[in-house]
């Protein structure tokens, strides 16, 4: 590489322009304008029902926007979902796992669904089993695992083909303090290697993990900026009630 050119940061770029989504009369997301740069660890904050999960579902293409657009590296999930799915890994708040499968089976399935086959699939599964320290549980049924371990399997599943954009929704919700610390440690280890979008209502978690954050209230963006600036005020919880930063 020539000395004059800076290396492009790893990860994917996310852009939402006037993004809205309504469910009947209820506007879950209201004209959201947001840019997440490559390589950022970005926190999307807000109380329950603020519109965080709706935003994620619009990003993954599971939902279609009512108005506006969202894109990942310039590609719209509404018109080209496959190209978008090749760029994202997604770990949901409530792990989306098959309880009747063993951990290794579940990961092999997820790898297969992401187009990995043969040796590449086996290597990817072995890699995430080691990375998320679930090797000892590889032959256990997913339905028999504790919530903490299910969350790890969910993260491992999202990370299988090391996607440029990793979306993690409320990763520590419902976990005990020890499990919470473990999951946060796992997420901290992923920073800088790719774009990480972390949805949470835990301010401590956001300050600990994210470089920038945005706060949503009833579908509207009330604040966006450096985590310390946005959340370092006297009453950061006021943002959750919709007070502007």
């Amino acid at each position: 590489m020539s000395a004059g050119l800076a290396a492009e940061p790893a990860g994917a770029r996310v852009e939402a322009v006037g993004l809205s989504r309504a469910f009947g009369e209820h506007l879950a997301l209201d004209a959201l304008d947001l840019v997440i740069e490559r390589g950022e660890t970005f926190g999307l904050l807000g109380a329950n029902g603020a519109g965080k999960t709706t935003f994620i579902r619009l990003l993954t293409g599971y939902l279609l926007p009512t108005a506006g657009r969202v894109s990942i590296d310039g590609i719209s999930p509404a018109t080209n979902p496959r190209a978008v799915h090749a760029r994202i890994g997604f770990a949901a708040e409530r792990p989306k796992l098959y309880p009747d499968l063993r951990v290794r089976q579940g990961l092999r399935l997820a790898a297969g669904l992401r187009g990995l086959t043969g040796a590449a699939r086996d290597a990817a599964v072995a890699s995430v089993l080691a990375r998320f320290t679930i090797e000892d549980h590889a032959e256990r049924l997913i339905g028999h695992l504790s919530k903490g371990y299910q969350q790890r399997v969910s993260l491992a599943q999202a990370f299988l083909d090391e996607p440029p954009l990793l979306i993690v929704d409320e990763p520590t919700s419902g976990l005990d303090p020890l499990q919470r610390a473990e999951v946060r440690e796992q997420l901290a280890g992923l920073r800088g290697q790719r774009t990480l979008l972390l949805c949470t209502h835990d301010l401590h978690e956001a300050r600990q993990l994210c470089s920038r954050v945005a706060v949503l209230h009833q579908g509207r963006l009330v604040a966006v900026g450096d985590a310390e600036t946005v959340l370092g005020g006297e009453d950061p919880l006021a943002l959750f009630r919709g007070a502007p930063a």
């Binding site: 989504r21 469910f23 579902r57 993954t60 293409g61 599971y62 939902l63 279609l64 979902p81 496959r82 799915h85 090749a86 994202i88 997604f90 949901a92 409530r94 989306k96 796992l97 098959y98 309880p99 009747d100 499968l101 089976q105 092999r108 399935l109 997820a110 790898a111 297969g112 669904l113 992401r114 187009g115 990995l116 086959t117 599943q157």
Partner: protein, 276 residues
Amino acid sequence: MSGPRGQQARAAVLAPLWALMRKEATVLFASPIAYFVLTMVALITSISFFEHLRLYNHQLFLFASSSMGGFESDTIPDYINLRDTVFLPVMEQLGLLILLPIPLVTMRVFAEERSLGTDELLLASRLSPGQIVLAKFAVTYGFILLMMTISFIYPASAVLSGGLGLQHLAAVYLGLVMLAIGIASIGLVCSAFTGSQIIAAVSTVGVTFILYDFHWTFEFVSEGTAGVLDAISMHPHFGRFSEGLVGFANVSYFVTLAVISGALVRFSLDLRRVGG
């Protein structure tokens, strides 16, 4: 497309499809329902078959041992034969009885994904909604074929040894398979529109029951309407196969039912993106 790139492109399309089909089969056979259904079908068929065979033997015995002179005197009437006394009644009964186990198989296929939230995982994978539908339909139809093969062992053995003819056997078997696939298709649609497996199973039985035979309505409706109702009923199309006739119209009926069902399930997946 050929060469390594072509192979890679094919693998990228086929790998997720195979992965989902493997998962469907694994989850199906990980639950006791699959074994329960297979056992139930084998049991029902054998009971039905041996009961009809017992009646057939009883009738033969009555005629043979009566004062009319036994087997050699041509006194056994034509209507007492394996085809009419055993084979066809068993097939007719099976046509109705498979209405019970099939919803148990189809109820979880889409409804379980929705209740577990794993439909979101599938829709965020490399699979298109059409491929999801294809994989799930293929595995369900495969299981239905296995189920029908098991149900056919006794009747087939009787027919082959009774000299009914392979052609007739194949026609009746095809009819039964087509009927089972038709019911399974309805079951898959019902499963796609709900997150409750119980609602999926009950609605499958209800819809199939309504669609099975409209004959009873004929005295209340005009001739034209009766013709339309007859054309959309399952039983008349299945009945033709029982007579040993494999008509294009009857095969088309069940194939169309499967295609419409696939389209409806695909629509239900799209509906979720719009409706949430």
